[in-house]
Symmetry: C2
Subunit: 358 residues, 2 copies
């Protein structure tokens, strides 16, 4: 009953334009500090699972960069998805690999592009979830105690407490909720019974494959074909053929919302999915000052600006509440609070066929 880490590194990251590009999505960038977000995700797991037990699921176009960034992860643990089909196929494919290594193996499944301030608390919660998964078949979701009425996250509704593991309470899940509107998010926050869905899950490979068989039979059928071809010369072709015909579906929608086996482990370990420039600069900004995390900058009567520029010196005069991101060939200037519209810039670039900036 070994512990395995499955890091889903398939994101595109248009919301971090111009830093993130098709060839270099968010998790492959060093957004905070020296290490990339993917590297930080691996570092964070290592005390729980050794490198040989970590799998990175990524796209062909990013595989070389992933290998470069993670030289100590075995080559065979870098798994290529031929096309993106959302998280259910990705997790199913990873479960096949884990099961081959250890039929009773426990998987921690997590996105590659989140930040977590308190790694120790995070690992403690993961260990408790793994312990629960060892005891009995269950599908554990990590829920984050909300600190704001966020409309950008899904929520998990807490049910009654059913047990404990390593000192962590374990709750049933009453429901998974899609991203709410503002009013509903406020009600969720005030009720105290709703938690942000972090996208981090813990289960045994066996249990999740059984749940997929029950709730997503077409995916289960495809996975069976892949399983039969694994470690043969046909494997890449079969994976591609299966993936081509799969419908994209998330594990939340495809399995978690339907299963009776979902459990909730709650935590608050400074989690952020850094889904936008605003989320990032909320995390690092000091009040009233301008932040220049890259090269040095000059602020003349400027306030509350976040400036990311590694190549150039940036001078601000008389401005406030700006997010400025400079890259080799493109520059973004965005009002704080408006960074969700950065994806419109990417759409506009696509419309104008300016592919070199994507």
């Amino acid at each position: 009953m070994d512990l395995y880490g499955v890091i889903m590194a398939g994101g595109r990251g248009t919301r971090f334009w111009p830093l993130s590009r098709e060839k270099k999505p968010k998790h492959l960038l060093a957004v905070t500090g020296e290490r990339t977000i993917l590297q930080q995700t691996v570092d964070r797991l290592l005390p729980l699972a050794p490198e040989k037990n970590l799998f990175i699921i990524t796209a062909e176009s990013h595989a070389a960069e992933v290998r470069l960034q993670l030289p100590s992860i075995p080559q065979e643990n870098i798994i290529i998805e031929p096309v993106g089909r959302n998280t259910a196929p990705c997790i199913g494919l990873a479960a096949l690999h884990v099961k081959r290594r250890d039929p009773k193996g426990i998987m921690i499944v997590l996105p590659s592009d989140h930040l977590i301030a308190d790694a120790e608390a995070f690992r403690s919660t993961l260990a408790a979830a793994a312990e629960a998964a060892r005891r009995a078949p269950c599908l554990a979701a990590l829920g984050i105690a909300p600190t704001a009425p966020e409309t950008g996250y899904g929520y998990i509704e807490e049910g009654k407490k059913v047990s404990e593991a390593l000192g962590h309470p374990i709750h049933r899940v009453l429901s998974f909720r899609e991203k709410p509107d503002r009013a509903k998010a406020l009600a969720f926050l005030e009720s105290g019974a709703f938690f942000w869905n972090s996208g981090v899950f813990v289960w045994s490979a066996e249990t999740i494959l059984e749940a997929i068989a029950e709730h997503l039979p077409l995916l289960a059928h495809g996975l069976k074909e892949i399983d039969a071809a694994m470690e043969t010369n046909d494997e890449p072709a079969v994976v591609r053929e299966v993936y081509e015909r799969l419908t994209p579906i998330s594990i939340d929608y495809g399995v978690m919302e339907k299963t009776k086996d979902a459990i909730l482990l709650k935590g608050s370990f400074g989690w952020s999915d850094i889904g936008s420039w605003d989320a990032l600069c909320d995390m690092i900004r000091e009040t009233d000052k301008c932040a220049f995390p890259g090269k040095q900058g000059i602020a003349i009567d400027a306030r509350e600006c976040y400036v990311r520029a590694d190549r150039r010196i940036v001078a601000l005069v008389g401005v406030e509440d700006l997010i400025v991101v400079d890259s080799e060939d493109a520059l973004l200037i965005c009002r704080r609070g408006r960074s969700q519209d950065v994806k419109k810039v990417v759409e506009e670039l696509e419309k104008r066929k300016l592919a070199e900036y994507l």
Copy 2:
């Protein structure tokens, strides 16, 4: 009585940072259109005076670029000042050169870094001033009908009309006024009797040298030394020696405010000294739209921004009233109306000894 053009090209242009630099001040840049401001200044004069009659007074460090930009101006017409000493010495030195070509030569003296929308009207006024200077010794200043209570310009107070030349009324000058405060500038504007001092003057070389002899005897003495050494091997050394000991003084303060011979020719030919990014973007901006005079840009819900970027694509999201100037190694983001503070950026760079950005 030939007509000569004397273009003073000694400016430093810190207010157009980061585009203007010590090595490339404003007049050597193509700020509007393809031609540099200096080239446009020459183009504007050519219908009045041929290239052989145009002198450019500049600094050693800019001479090579001036020659490159103005290949049809004779080498010997590019006059080097060893150090900047404001306009009076510059004009005196130029007058020596003009007088050698034609003892009765008429000089149009003008800064190299102004824009003029209606070149035809400008030349017509200059021709009238030259005609007045041919008739009798006088020192003609061009005054601009003010359109706003500008505190950044000197003003000329109109006296009574004394004559006409080529259809242009000629007035005595009652006074030259330094840059006024806001209240005084408003009073000037409302009175209708005050005109912006454009820094453009017309006179004979003989008359200005006589006026310098009367009002600036030390300068006159230095010019006599230079005159004696001209066209000898000693000329550069003598010019340097004289300049080193001269006190900086403007022709306005040193001569025009004191002389009884000042006359005023009024005009309104779309003149701007483009003294700041604000002045420039006021000239070219369309209301409510964002102007991207360089490379293409993307504006998502952005208004009233002026973006100058030749190397990079610039995306604006949810911002307004910004001046954005991108260069190879530096980026300026300035609130509109605040560009006078760009010089503080340059001061800060000096203070931090970041000479590579100056």
